[in-house]
């Protein structure tokens, strides 16, 4: 499968995620994490959310994924409420930490969502094999997570998120804990996977370079209250190659995002607790 769209072809892509007037308050309204967020994400888009710590970008991601509830506003995914989308398993989630299960092998970690979906053993094994090829970890199926490097663990986590072919991939600083070289390699790998699977990706990051390099659109957020202060379309050609990192247009866009961040107040120091760290409530 190859990618057709971006930057608005003749046919507007189908909307996958739509947020209307989404706000989130913590501590009985004493802290406003997000205020009045409107956004629409089209099919096949690669959207980055970038902003300073505490701007609520992880909170926004969790609201899209129905892991926390907004205080106000509406979240629609594929035309249905986020809650229904979660029950329909529309989301694949990747966190900054791989969150693999120590007691499961690589293969069994990847198969976890498939078990919950009730796939039989044979079908699971076939899919795990495919996924291992996709993230280039064939041969590691019987390793335990602690036997892998950080980058490899994160690839397992991506394979797990993609194993059940969710329409929407939510990634919360997935490469934030990795060294620069591993990060750039996984950036390329993620782009390839995105091309191959055609999924829609919402990607939270701290890195301006990463946001520009990967995305079709960068949403710049500002803090207190968290809101989307700028939206930049990234008109770099597809598919992206490593050479793009030296392209003048790439530098221009990086500068634009940086300026947008400064306009949003990202250069000021936020000493208060980050909303990203607040534990989500549990319960079905």
């Amino acid at each position: 499968m190859s990618r057709r769209l971006d930057g608005g072809g003749p046919v507007a892509p189908e909307t996958v995620v739509e947020l209307e007037g989404v706000s989130k308050e913590f501590a009985q309204g004493k802290t406003v994490a997000l205020r009045d967020i409107d956004l629409a994400i089209g099919q096949g888009g690669f959207i980055s959310l970038i902003g300073p710590s505490g701007c609520g970008k992880s909170t926004l991601l969790r609201i899209i994924g129905d892991l926390i509830q907004p205080s106000a506003g509406r979240v629609t995914v594929h035309g249905k409420p986020a809650h229904q989308a979660r029950l329909d398993r529309d989301y694949g989630i990747v966190f900054q930490h791989p969150v693999l299960y120590d007691w499961r092998t690589v293969a069994k970690n990847i198969a976890l969502p498939l078990e919950l979906l009730g796939w039989d053993r044979g079908r699971r094994a076939d899919r795990v094999k495919e996924m291992l090829e996709l993230v280039e970890l064939t041969g590691f199926e019987n390793h335990h997570p602690w036997q892998l490097s950080g980058g490899m663990q994160q690839r397992v986590s991506i394979a797990r998120a993609l194993s059940f072919s969710p329409a929407l991939l939510l990634m919360d600083e997935p490469f934030g804990a990795l060294d620069e070289m591993t990060r750039e390699r996984l950036n390329m790998e993620l782009l390839r996977i995105w091309q191959e699977t055609g999924s829609t990706i919402v990607f939270v990051t701290h890195s301006i370079a990463e946001a520009v390099f990967l995305s079709t659109r960068v949403m710049v957020m500002s803090a207190r209250p968290g809101r989307i202060s700028d939206v930049l379309e990234v008109d770099l050609p597809q598919p992206r190659s490593a050479a793009l990192r030296e392209d003048p247009r790439y530098f221009e866009l990086v500068t634009q995002v940086r300026e947008a961040l400064v306009r949003g107040g990202a250069d000021k120091v936020f000493e208060e607790l980050s909303f990203d760290e607040l534990a989500p409530e549990e319960g079905e």
């Binding site: 969790r62 994924g65 892991l67 979660r86 029950l87 329909d88 398993r89 989301y91 694949g92 989630i93 966190f95 930490h97 969150v99 299960y101 120590d102 007691w103 499961r104 976890l112 969502p113 078990e115 919950l116 979906l117 335990h144 997570p145 602690w146 059940f164 534990a279 989500p280 549990e282 319960g283 079905e284």
Partner: protein, 277 residues
Amino acid sequence: MGQVLRRVGVFVLVMAALWGLWEGWRAIGTHFKLTWPFAVNDTTMPHLHRIVQSLFEPAQVNGPWLIDILWHASLFTAKECVVGFALGAVIGFAIAVALSQSRFLERGFIPYIVASQTIPLLAIAPMVVIGLGTKGVKDWVSVSVLAAYLTFFPVAVNALRGLQSADPQAVELMRSYAAGRWRILWKLRVPSSLPYLFSAFRIAAPLAVVGAIISEPAASIQGGLGGAIVNFSQYYTIEPQELWATNIITALLGILFFVAVVLAEKLIVRRAPEHYA
């Protein structure tokens, strides 16, 4: 192989050092006629070789060797311990699962669970033995129930902590797969709790032995180690080495249970090597 040899070497060295300390203190104590902290003589500190030797002598005239008596007593007590340990583990874990499902339950019940351990076993033994006896339950099963009364506590407390130890992001992931409460419990919380559960089992294993031994006299059971201890206590001034020998066998039984738990943990719990104790 070298590692096994080294371990055996350390074991032998430690044993030898303890032996030396015992006999050394004994020699000093008898030579200088120490009375502080206690008088040292053949009654308070029999020779260690006398203790070991007594195992291979008849406890009564023309009777079987002491070790033969203690072997059968150990088997009997071990049976009570295994059942008591299993019962305590199941009950403790069930309590932990129930409490992990609701803060309200947890807050409400934890004080009573803690309070249960402030009641001495001897105080509830008659109720259990007589109560269960009227239902036709064998006395040794009552002893198991009393041992379980001791062992359920560390299991319940640790398992609860273990069930609550699951990574919050792992819980979010499970929710993103539309997993409900029970599947999160089974696929995530229970496996996350296993290391906690096994540290509880390490505490509970020797506790089961202690519980069984204390409860045996209360249930008027004489065929176990508890019975043997009561019996040999009465002859302590004449034959102190027999009680000491019984104590050593009792300790061995506790250690055996502990080691069994550690081995089971190695087989069952899969986790990063740096987490191993």
